[in-house]
Point group: C2
């Protein structure tokens, strides 16, 4: 189940960014579940990672390698998260890096590992290393749909986004793919995302670009409030276009940032629309806060309320549950009589009470749609934050009750 149709976009190759996928039968056979990215020697890589204290072995190794060397290869597997696997998990992630480095005649520190799937099971290293030669043989620039498919777990469809922008008279491309449909929460949850461009960007600037883009996109979505151990959002710059972005105050930088933001935002919304069991795509727009944090507090209280999520699933405009969630969000000295709530364009709460001219029929008309915006005005300031989430359906329970069986 997923909200709406979302065909995979036509994604152009990115010069200098080569990809290959292979089937290693990590969780099941008959699909590609390993992905390799290869960059030229002069390429750069930056990324942001899960905040979970139990972060997975590949995340630990990836951070170490990024700090020690410039990344040239990314090796990703789906089906096993290699999380909560202790010292053995780190050795396993390193073994995979080693196999990739040997094949490429490179340094293991230039290899960045990523895993997603079941937590706490040992990584089947030999299954992955066995397909490394084939991966190198198959590397090509035109394989983005295959790459998006190879990293899926409970996702029902591959997710991609692309932008092209002319910088200094030359066109550069930004492509992105993502996987994730459960355990999605700010700070990125079981989300892997790989964005790449043919612009040339030094690592420090690339880090700033991906940090801003992730904060405005993947850190603004929530499905179930769970933050995974493995989230990683990486930005690769091949430099193969010849366009260099080197000055943070330049128009070129602003253009590239904008393109990466748009790709990340589109991917983040695609993750929500494919949320586990999702039947509604819900935008929470909270304004009138004294600061951004209190807007987010209210947005998350509404987004995480199982009572509101089930009402959304039932297309029930149960505005009482919405005001209850606003009330317990923890905003200090909130004055209910200043609070306004709209469902799309229909005002349901005026000055903290049910809007006098509101009818159930109006609310139901909005709730029947697949895309619902809950607009909340706290009436205490100028701050505004937007968050995306889903409803809570039978299907969510089924998927997560059955996941390991």
């Amino acid at each position: 189940m997923a909200v709406g149709e979302l065909p995979f976009p036509s994604m152009p190759p990115i010069k200098g960014v080569r990809l290959a996928t292979a089937g290693a039968a990590i969780k099941r056979t008959g699909r590609d579940d390993v992905l390799l990215f290869a960059l030229p020697e002069y390429g750069t890589v930056a990324g942001v990672f899960t905040q979970n204290a139990f972060c997975a072995a590949p995340v630990l190794i990836c951070r170490q390698h990024l700090a020690a060397a410039s990344g040239r290869f990314l090796i990703i597997n789906a089906g096993n998260a290699n999380a909560c696997t202790g010292e053995q998990g780190k050795r396993d992630a390193l073994s995979v890096c080693q196999a990739v480095a040997e094949q490429a005649d490179s340094n293991p520190q230039q290899v960045l590992p990523f895993s997603t799937g079941v937590i706490g099971e040992p990584l089947p290293v030999s299954k992955i290393t066995a397909v490394v030669p084939q991966l190198f043989a198959d590397l090509k620039e035109d394989h983005w749909l295959g790459a998006a498919r190879a990293i899926m777990t409970t996702d029902t469809r591959p997710k991609g986004a692309t932008r092209q922008v002319t910088i200094d008279g030359q066109m550069i491309t930004v492509n992105g793919i993502a996987k994730g449909s459960g355990m999605i929460n700010p700070n990125m949850a079981t989300l892997l995302s790989f964005i790449a461009t043919d612009a040339g960007v030094e690592q420090r600037l690339l880090q700033a670009i991906i940090a801003e883009a992730a904060n405005l996109s993947f850190n603004r979505i929530t499905i179930d409030g769970d933050t995974s151990t493995n989230d990683s959002c990486m930005l690769l710059a091949s430099g193969a276009s010849g366009v260099r972005v080197s000055d943070r105050s330049s128009e070129a930088y602003r253009q590239l940032q904008q393109a990466v933001n748009e790709v990340c935002s589109e991917l983040a919304r695609a993750v929500v629309a494919d949320g586990e069991g999702a039947t509604k795509f819900v935008t929470l727009d909270v304004k009138g806060g004294g600061n951004g944090d209190e807007c987010l507090q209210v947005a998350y209280a509404v987004a995480h309320s199982p009572l509101i999520k089930t009402a959304l699933f039932a297309s029930d405009p149960n505005w009482g549950r919405i005001v209850a969630a606003i009330g317990y969000a923890g905003v200090p000295e909130l004055d209910p009589s200043l609070v306004q709530v709209h469902l799309n364009e229909v005002q349901i709460v005026t000055d903290g009470e049910r809007a006098s001219d509101y009818t159930e029929a109006q609310g139901q008309a909005v709730m029947q749609g697949e895309h619902i915006t809950i607009r909340i005005d706290l009436g205490r300031g100028q701050a505004e934050e937007v968050l995306w989430t889903t409803d809570l359906s039978y299907e969510y329970v089924r998927i997560n009750a059955d996941y390991r069986t």
Copy 2:
């Protein structure tokens, strides 16, 4: 659906505490949905209330009345919460108090109103006031089961608890009833609870007793993380036994506190066992915290995780989701390698990793049971907190998707 059998206990009458119920057809006909408590002139009442900023009209009025006079009558209706109803809601709650006071030839400030049910609909005042004469005609001391039934909403069974204790050579009784099965969270959610004793206790002491008891019971349960607008937990003391508890340092005070704590704790656990769609009763026991707050942070992260709740529903010992929740709970500088986790007596995580001798079969054996204790040791201090919660089933979604239809 509910966990296990929980027959209503045989509850003795409490001298001086009279009750009556009547059917006012507030939401549907064919059931009693209004409850009246009456205390003697010398009785006392204390209570604790929801922290929700959108607290309901009856909560506002109840607080005002308690501050202004000594409570003698409690009038409770199920089916309509009179919440988010603004000035009209307050006028409506006052009208109900007025009708009770007129019938009793008393002061409206001695009447305390309570409501539970749908939010945002106007209170059907005349339906309630119409049954007030009948309620007064029916007042009697032996009607606790009827009272527990009258306050139910989505509850599948009435909830009661009782204790008797000998103080200064004389037996006193503590009875309690509660309603609540969804929107249950710390700070009490849609929970109404009425505890009564025939001991005599001045209002200030009574307040201290109910505050402690509620904190150790109703503030330690969570079903869906939603905190309602109407929660109230009241303690009534008739004084009709002749036993007076007047010194906070006395053994009599300690004994009464203990009895009230036990009644509240039993009621709180009964609310969890009757949680909407609950098939499991889950105890979260988090120890080894640097302080109580971080134990609670971890306990709530686990208790609120839809991924863990659905795994519990599926009897799936998905320990990876548990460690992920511990990891994102937000405990500062948590060292995963010090974390131990048990399911009942089975150790599933040792030093942050899957226990080496743990087998799925062991975990599944625990998860098949209806009562599951998740024991977490953070390994960083001496604090410990216990929380009770449920799983998340199809039935929870069904109940909350259908509630208003």
